[in-house]
Assembly symmetry: C2
Homo-oligomer: 239 residues x 2
DNA sequence: CTGAGTCAACTAACATGTTAGTACACCAGG
DNA sequence: CCTGGTGTACTAACATGTTAGTTGACTCAG
């Protein structure tokens, strides 16, 4: 009764229905929970808890934590503790900067050498987005939005660009969970996407670049106030 | 006498004089050997050998290999073997693309908001390069060259940009070991650096961007012929 | 009441034992 | 000679035991 139960709850997704090595699965499970804020910043991750909750030994758990540390999603205090990393506005800005650099380069390249089939896929995605907005299906729109961006990066022909961008984007994406989608913003988003795709269709790299830059600049503006609104999620000590 | 000694040689740098955790040190040691081609592509890395050569147990060795796999420097065949990854021209092009994207964004930002002190540091680096060229100190020049690029990325104020760029650049940097520095090229390099810094000094982001793009484009041209010249180092099977 | 010093409990880091998947050599059959 | 199956040796992946560094609570002097 009086015991102070801390974090021993079914927060982690079951790993049995996942694919890959155990370490890979544990990593995915933890990453998901961190990104959705089910494991909020500051949460202490104990190897023992992870092992018992997911039913694995310490080896895969250790590897998972190592990878999360590399991603910057957890902070390891040697010999002491591992915590979910706090938000940091400077890291969020940095992530946005990196993502912008990569995505602008990508869209520029795609505008220069996009095939008809690829263009058709982009156009199809845009039409889907329009439909989802009409249906007010926010979750679906969110997914279609991400798909479009992934598509553009995939069309560069460089497989790892997407991976890199995703890693760079982690801090931004996590913070984005705190933003509520508004109908007005979503309509704007579709129009911004349209501008990007129009420029790609026109084979206008410079135009595509600017359209994408305009699109991406909208997000960071929304994120900036978070530090004031949710100070608890941000680094208590800017160590 | 007749025994076929494979790879059991003092290829790895001693880890005792290094800092950080054992895993970190093993990682550094292996990475260094791979990047300098002392461990050429295709070399099989056995945990056991690494352990005995460096005098550590399998845990830190495993973590090191995991990180190298994440860097794309080794290919792990599950349950079977871990090999130093082969060169791949498409991966090299991809690395160059990523690095260009990041460095152009960086130099653009720096040109926009560079302080007097930072500009002085850049100018100093350029002067040093001039001296090193006169002395025909190629190794020193190589280092000064890298310093300049790191400096520019550091001046963005974003700590991880450099880390990201370094990771993206790994394949390119490894391939670069095969290029012999020529006096003519080095003189050109200094001039290209000068153009970049001049544009930064002038507060001309667009100009700095183009100067840097011109500079970076020179390298990939030199790398392209390598696939024909050293086919053994490239992927035998484009799996 | 407050501060430094001590110590016990807990953790990550490291070492080692165990399991299971892979690849290669060998052999039987065509 | 070549092909397909089988078995063994070897590896990474996983589990578990051990060590050593950190933290925070407790003690006791000021």
């Amino acid at each position: 009764m009086t015991e102070a139960t801390t974090t021993t709850r079914p927060v982690l997704r079951e790993i049995n229905d996942m694919t890959g090595s155990l370490a890979q699965r544990v990593y995915q499970s933890l990453k998901e929970a961190i990104m959705t804020l089910e494991l909020p910043p500051g949460t202490v991750l104990r190897k023992g808890e992870i092992c018992s909750q997911l039913g694995v030994s310490r080896s895969p758990a250790t590897e998972a934590l190592t990878r999360l540390a590399a991603d910057g999603l957890v902070d390891v205090v040697p010999q002491s503790a591992t915590r979910v990393s706090y938000f940091s506005m400077s890291e969020i800005r940095e992530g946005a900067f990196l993502r912008e650099a990569l995505e602008l380069a990508a869209v520029e390249k795609v505008a220069r050498e996009c095939t008809a089939e690829q263009l058709a896929q982009l156009t199809r995605s845009l039409r889907l987005q329009t439909l989802l907005v009409e249906d007010e299906d926010y979750a679906g729109f969110y997914e279609a939005d991400e798909d479009l961006h992934h598509m553009i990066m995939a069309f560069t022909g460089y497989a790892r660009v997407g991976t890199f961008a995703a890693t760079a984007w982690l801090q931004v994406d996590r913070a984005r969970q705190l933003l509520l989608p508004t109908p007005g913003r979503i309509l704007e988003t579709v129009e911004e996407h349209r501008a990007v795709i129009d420029a790609i269709r026109a084979g206008d790299p410079e135009g595509a670049r600017h359209a994408m830059q305009h699109h991406l600049s909208k997000l960071i503006v929304k994120l900036e106030p978070l530090e004031q609104e949710q100070p608890a999620l941000f680094r208590p000590l800017p160590a």
